[in-house]
Amino acid sequence: AQSVTQPDIHITVSEGASLELRCNYSYGATPYLFWYVQSPGQGLQLLLKYFSGDTLVQGIKGFEAEFKRSQSSFNLRKPSVHWSDAAEYFCACTTSGTYKYIFGTGTRLKVLA
């Protein structure tokens, strides 16, 4: 069955520290991968997406993610976290020929001042 796993439910980092949020997918076909961020009371905002080509993709707000087919992973990274990055982050997957996204259960990020 198709699935997206985000192993970390909560992560706490200090402001200015680096960040990596993990995402693993299980998909039979070539995946298209996304990271969304959700702040309280807000909708899901797209951070970045991977369809094909360069496996390191850049997104908004200084985020990047790397697609590693051999590890079925699409981890999100940021070199220096800002207090405003505190939010919930969702990894999602779809594939050509479908319009359904499969979402992970999310990782809630807390940033310490």
């Binding site: 369809f51 050509s96 319009y99 999310g106």
Partner: protein, 116 residues
């Protein structure tokens, strides 16, 4: 409009009541989706519209849930005889005619439904 608009943002109702949730997609987006996000979970697919027709309603949990999009723009999600388990945030998203190789969804802020 500039973004996907959902109303109401919050709805509290009693068990057994009927509820309607509205979604106004981005102008020009022909594809519209409803997702449900329960507490502590990621969004789960409910239904997809291409134009006026429901192309896929396989995610609707049971026949108490129904959605329409009569003019190919605004959509309404309807829940009959609400149950406490229906409490969740209902998210609407839209996209251009989906190029199935590059379908990017834009989400609204959601409608939080609480069934007492």
């Amino acid at each position: 409009g500039a973004g996907v608009s959902q109303t109401p943002s919050n709805k509290v109702t009693e068990k057994g009541k009927y509820v309607e949730l509205r979604c106004d997609p981005i102008s020009g987006h022909t594809a519209l989706y409803w997702y449900r996000q329960s507490l502590g979970q990621g969004p789960e697919f409910l239904i997809y519209f291409q134009g006026t027709g429901a192309a896929d309603d396989s995610g609707l949990p049971n026949d108490r849930f129904f959605a329409v999009r009569p003019e190919g723009s605004v959509s309404t999600l309807k829940i009959q005889r609400t149950e406490r388990g229906d409490s969740a945030v209902y998210l609407c998203a839209s996209s251009l005619i989906p190029d199935l190789g590059a379908n990017v969804l834009t989400f609204g802020a959601g409608s939080r439904l609480t069934v007492l």
